[in-house]
Structures are given as structure tokens and as C-alpha cells.
């Protein structure tokens, strides 16, 4: 089951953007709109002064004063006004008619929002007398010129256009940071690779725990493989040209010098064999590396493989059979591709024999380990420095004073064993080197 962290990240980003946008329009947009329906402080003071004058006029001249002030105010502001007592009765000389009384059903105070919305009529404002509010109030229809303009189209554009646009830009930026910036880094890395800059530091992007992090990891892996195979190629070229030139040079010298035919033949034979061995090993390794062939496996009696190999190796090295003891019994059957296993084991044995002291022994033992056989080939040679235990399995790597050979034997052995599902590694046995081979158990044994 594949997780999709990036999907959730993007979804969270989008959802929070939508919520923020809704909240902004609901609260901020609305409050901006409401704030435009209030009278400014100057207008409030201006109207409050009328109430003060009305109170003075009523106190000084009673009903006639109030009536006079009312008429003067109506004329001055071209509106309707009235002075009311505590019980909403007119303080002037004329009583309120029915229509005028209906104006008093919904009055607003100065600090209330004013708008024309209600029945498309200018609002009625009630202003209490400043000195004795209990005595009465001035009520007037708000003069047209004082009515707040409400939401202008420009404010509307800002609250419902510009602000969401800015938010959307922010969202875009966030998505860009999440998606495109890492891709740009990847592209830079790819460009570096294209320019053969293989050693640039790894991408910090790999730390990300989402699809882009995985992509970066895959990319780094690929770059690593590329680096490795390029190094291998250079090494291969260097080694091949060196190892082939040397026998060729010897051949040429032998050809030019007046050697007796028999000796020339012998030299020829030796050099050609060397070159053929190098070529075959190199091609074997390259084939196993690139083709990764599926090797058919069969149950094989390990003891017989050992005996068959000892037969050849004793011929080759002049060792006595008794110096190659094997403690495995006939119960040790492994599921392998016989020829590859034999090739691998032969390489391991040759390596062990090459590094053995004059009367040393090379022994094979092993034990059952779950569904596998763990085999151990031990020699009595000098061993290998702890730091080089892995390096000896790399192709063309020869440790100092490791003698003849092209440094391919152990590399081929490891490939061959890994191709059939086994493992091969080395450890130091104090004294000597131990080579460990883990192989799947023979299928006949599993059934019994």
C-alpha cells in the first residue's frame, strides 16, 4: 500500500486556503462594509450641536421657542425635524400628525449605522438633549448630504477582489515551494551530472518523507550507480590496458629475440593463456553484472563439489589432498547452480592457497543455519586488514603484496554466489582469513 504524503500536504494547503478565504470574506469583508455605514465623528458633533441649540431654545422660550427652532432647522437643512418630550409628545406648538408619529417608530441614535436600506427612506435620528436628556430630544430626518456613502465600489474591489487575489498568490507560492523548488534542485543536480560533476554533495531533499523525497532518493541512487559504473569503467580500461600490454610487450620481445623454437612456443603459450584468462574473467564478470542471468538451480552435494575441485587444485598447486580437509558430511546439500558455485569456490580456494604459508592447510566446514547452509573456508595466511575486508570483493582491487592475479577472482565469486541467492563475505580468523558462504539448503532436504 503506497502512502501519498504529498497529496495530503497539497490537500491540507488547499483546504486551509479555502477556509481562510471564507473567514476573511465573512468577518473582515462584512466589518469593513458595516464600518462605512456610521456617521463620522465631525458629523455626529455637528448634529449634537443642533440638539444643544434646541434644548436652549426650548428652555428660553418654551413651546414657541421650540417651534421657531424647529422651523429654522427644517429650513436650514431642508429636512423634517421635531422636538419631543419624555413621552414622545411634541414640545412645539403643533401636535404630531399620524404620519409624523409613524416616523418615530424606528429612530436611530447618532452612533448607530445609517443607511437607506429601510424602505428607501433617509433614517430618522434621535438626539437627546445634552444637558437634561430626561426632558426631551431632537428628532430629525438625516440630511441627505450627511448620509454615509456605504460601501464604495473601490472598497468592494479591495475586500472581495484584491485580498483574495493576494491570498491565492500566497497559496501559489506555497505550492511552488512544495513542488517546483525541489524539482529545480533536482534539475540542477541533473545538470551537474550532465556536466560530469559526479562528486557534488547529495541532495538535502532526500530527507523529505514524501514522494519528492523518494524521487530524490531514487535519483541519488541512480547517480551513485552511475558514479560507480563510470569508476568501474575507468578502472577496467586502466587495468585491461595495463594487463594486456604487459604480456603483449613480452610477446613482442620474445618474437624479436632469437629464442629457440621450443622456448618461444612455451613463452607464447604462457602469455596467451594469461591474456585469455584475463579476458574470460573480465567478460564473465561484466556478463554477470549486466545480464543478471537467472541461473537454474539443483540440489548439490557440497562434499562432491569440494572433492572435484580438490582434484584439480592439487594438480595445479602440487598440494597434497590431506592439506585440504573438509568436515562436511553427506547431509550438506545446497540448492545452487553447480557450475557457478564451483567457479566461485574454486576462486576462493585458489585465493586461499595463494596466501597460505608453505605447509598451510585450507579447510572447509559449515553448519545448518535455518533454511541455509553456512559454509566457512579458512586458511592460515596473514589475513586481511579489517578495513579491507569488503574491498577485496571489488573487481581489480589488489591488496599490496597479494601476488599474481588480476583481482577478479573474489569479485566473480561474490557475483556468482549472489546470483543464486547466496551471500559471501570475509572475516579474520586469527590467524588467517575466513570466507563465509551462505547458500539455500537443497530442496530435497527441505522435503524430508
Amino acid at each position: 500500500m503506497r502512502r501519498h504524503p504529498l497529496l495530503w500536504k497539497l490537500a491540507a494547503l488547499q483546504v486551509s486556503f479555502c477556509l481562510l478565504l471564507t473567514w476573511l470574506i465573512w468577518t473582515w469583508g462584512l466589518s469593513v462594509e458595516r464600518s462605512t455605514y456610521f456617521l463620522s465623528q465631525a458629523d455626529q458633533d455637528y448634529l449634537a450641536r443642533y440638539a444643544q441649540q434646541a434644548e436652549q431654545a426650548w428652555q428660553q422660550a418654551g413651546a414657541s421657542g421650540a417651534e421657531a427652532f424647529r422651523r429654522k432647522l427644517e429650513r436650514a437643512e431642508d429636512t423634517w425635524a421635531v422636538l419631543l418630550g419624555p413621552h414622545l409628545q411634541s414640545l412645539g406648538t403643533t401636535a404630531l400628525d399620524a404620519e409624523e408619529a409613524s416616523h418615530l417608530t424606528f429612530m436611530r441614535k447618532l452612533d448607530w449605522p445609517m443607511s437607506r436600506r429601510l424602505q428607501d427612506e433617509l433614517p430618522y435620528v434621535s438626539i437627546e438633549f445634552p444637558q437634561h436628556p430626561e426632558n426631551g430630544r431632537l428628532v430629525m430626518q438625516l440630511p441627505e448630504r450627511l448620509l454615509p456613502t456605504g460601501l464604495t465600489p473601490w472598497t468592494h474591489v479591495i475586500t472581495h477582489g484584491v485580498a483574495p487575489t493576494l491570498l491565492a498568490l500566497l497559496l501559489g507560492l506555497a505550492i511552488y515551494r512544495q513542488l517546483v523548488v525541489p524539482l529545480n534542485r533536482l534539475r540542477d543536480r541533473a545538470d551537474a551530472l550532465r556536466a560530469d560533476d559526479l562528486d557534488s554533495p547529495g541532495l538535502p531533499l532526500q530527507e523529505r518523507r514524501d514522494e519528492l523525497g523518494e524521487l530524490a532518493q531514487a535519483f541519488e541512487h541512480m547517480a551513485g550507480r552511475l558514479r560507480q559504473s563510470l569508476e568501474q569503467q575507468r578502472l577496467l580500461l586502466r587495468t585491461l590496458s595495463h594487463e594486456l600490454r604487459t604480456p603483449l610487450a613480452r610477446l613482442r620481445i620474445a618474437h624479436d629475440s632469437d629464442l629457440p623454437p621450443a622456448q618461444l612456443r612455451e613463452r607464447l603459450e604462457r602469455e596467451v593463456n594469461d591474456m585469455q584468462k584475463l579476458l574470460e574473467d573480465t567478460l564473465d564478470l561484466a556478463w554477470m553484472d549486466t545480464e543478471q542471468p537467472q541461473l537454474p538451480t539443483e540440489p548439490v552435494l557440497m562434499l562432491s563439489v569440494w572433492e572435484a575441485l580438490c582434484q584439480d587444485i592439487c594438480f595445479e598447486s602440487g598440494w597434497e589432498q590431506s592439506r585440504l580437509p573438509c568436515s562436511l558430511g553427506t547431509d550438506c546439500r545446497v540448492q545452487v547452480h553447480l557450475d557457478s558455485l564451483a567457479q566461485a569456490l574454486e576462486n576462493l580456494m585458489r585465493n586461499a592457497i595463494r596466501h597460505s604459508p608453505d605447509d598451510g592447510r585450507v579447510s572447509l566446514d559449515g553448519w545448518r543455519d535455518g533454511d541455509c547452509w553456512h559454509l566457512r573456508l579458512s586458511d592460515q595466511g596473514p589475513g586481511v586488514p579489517q578495513a579491507d575486508l569488503e574491498r577485496i570483493f571489488q573487481p581489480y582491487q589488489r591488496l599490496p603484496d597479494s601476488g599474481a592475479g588480476f583481482g577478479l577472482g573474489l569479485a566473480i565469486a561474490r557475483r556468482a554466489i549472489e546470483l543464486q541467492g547466496g551471500r559471501l563475505w570475509a572475516s579474520n580468523g586469527h590467524p588467517g582469513l575466513c570466507l563465509h558462504v551462505v547458500l539455500p539448503i537443497g530442496q530435497e532436504c527441505l522435503e524430508s
Partner: protein
């Protein structure tokens, strides 16, 4: 009557060298440079042995082999410049009687050719029965008995012992043994025969028939030595 050989090899120098070598050995040689020529030659003559390069201009060696197999049962040896293991695992060697990876030495070539010709001749003979002795070959059970004790051989092990037993005291080459016992071409890395020999030795020891020793002869193959009846 000399052995007639069809040689199909596109490299002129190698072809001429091989032709000269086989002529010196007293073969009648028909050398071809292309697959088409070789096919023509096969259709108009009979050969005792065909030596075929896999990479040929015109019809390649493998198609030629298929075509040949439809017409006659002549033994065919393939030569290839690809890796032996690669060829064997890719099944290139299937259908051929033997397979010889390049580069090879003339000695190796001769050993292979002799083994192949000998196997063909051997196939026509009947397998001689083992002399009556303590060791009894049971053709029906494909097993050997020593003083009534069965060794429990596999079919390949039985064929190996029977073949060695039919040529007592004579070293049989690996190419020949691979052909007759395991019915496949021998390649450098093939260890099948060696492991069969080791298994066989152990089984013979188990039935107390140690006097029959299968000995390896370096560079030649295996020989069966009877230390009691020698």
C-alpha cells in the same frame, strides 16, 4: 574412406588454418565462408561432421543448424566467440552435438572432434555387458550390485560407470564423456561430470567396491582402474 568435414567459418585466416590442419589429418574438407554456401553444400553432399561458427554472414549458424537438423542427423559442433556460460544459459548450444568457445587450441579442437566422431561410432555399437564378476550391472534397474548390495546410482551415474567399464584401462576424454553420459556439450566451467565422478566414487565405496577406482588423468579425462583384477 576419409572423414568428410564441412567447415563454415567467416574469418578467412582462421578458416584457412583450420582447413590446412584437417587436411593434414587426412580429412576431406569443404570450407565455406557464409551460411548460404554451407547450406548449399549440405544439400548436395553427405558429411561425417559439421564445424559451424555461430556468427555467419547470410544465414547464421543457429538457423543453419535448425535447417540441417530437419534434413539429416550429421553431428554438428558449434564454434562461438561469445562467452561459454552465456551461450549455454541462453540455450545457444541446444541442438548442437558439441560446443567449442573461441579461443581454442588445436589440441582441444582435435580432442573434441575425436570425441564426437567416436561417440557417433560408439552409438552404433551395443554396450558390452560387464564381465561376470562380483560387480553386476543391472540394465533394467540402472544400478550396479556388488555381492548383492545395490549402490543406488542415478541414471547419469550408471551411464558414466557403464561407459568407463566398457573401456577398461583407457582414459576417456571429458568431451567424450559429456557427450555419451550427460548428452551435452562440455564447456570450461562445467563441473557436472566431476561431481558425478565424486558421487560415484562414494557410492562404490559404500558397497565395498573400492577396487574399482575412477582416476582423473590430467588433461585427458577419466579412467576406470580395477586394482584387483589388473
Amino acid at each position: 574412406m576419409p572423414t568428410s568435414l564441412l567447415l563454415a567459418e567467416d574469418d578467412a585466416r582462421l578458416r584457412e588454418d583450420l582447413q590446412r590442419h584437417f587436411l593434414n589429418r587426412g580429412f576431406r574438407v569443404n570450407a565455406c565462408a557464409t551460411g548460404t554456401q554451407a547450406l548449399n553444400a549440405v544439400q548436395h553432399g553427405r558429411f561425417d561432421l559439421v564445424l559451424l561458427d555461430i556468427m555467419l554472414p547470410g544465414i547464421d549458424g543457429l538457423s543453419l543448424l535448425d535447417e540441417l537438423r530437419r534434413q539429416q542427423a550429421v553431428p554438428v559442433m558449434l564454434m562461438s566467440a561469445l562467452g561459454a556460460e552465456q551461450d549455454r544459459i541462453s540455450g545457444f548450444t541446444r541442438g548442437a552435438d558439441d560446443y567449442l568457445p573461441k579461443p581454442f587450441s588445436l589440441a582441444e579442437l582435435d580432442a573434441r572432434v575425436d570425441a564426437l566422431l567416436r561417440r557417433v561410432a560408439f552409438g552404433r555399437e551395443t554396450l558390452p555387458h560387464g564381465e561376470p564378476g562380483p560387480l553386476v550391472f543391472d540394465q533394467y534397474l540402472q544400478d550396479v550390485l556388488h555381492h548383492g548390495k545395490a549402490a543406488g546410482l542415478t541414471a547419469s551415474e550408471f551411464r558414466l560407470l557403464a561407459t568407463l567399464n566398457a573401456h577398461p584401462g583407457e582414459a576417456l576424454s571429458k568431451p567424450f564423456l559429456y557427450q555419451t553420459v550427460l548428452h551435452r556439450a562440455y564447456t570450461r566451467l562445467d563441473r557436472g561430470l566431476d561431481v558425478h565422478v565424486c558421487n560415484l566414487r562414494r557410492k562404490l565405496a559404500d558397497i565395498a567396491a573400492q577396487h574399482l577406482q575412477i582416476q582423473a588423468v590430467r588433461g585427458q579425462g577419466y579412467i576406470l582402474v580395477d586394482t584387483e583384477h589388473a
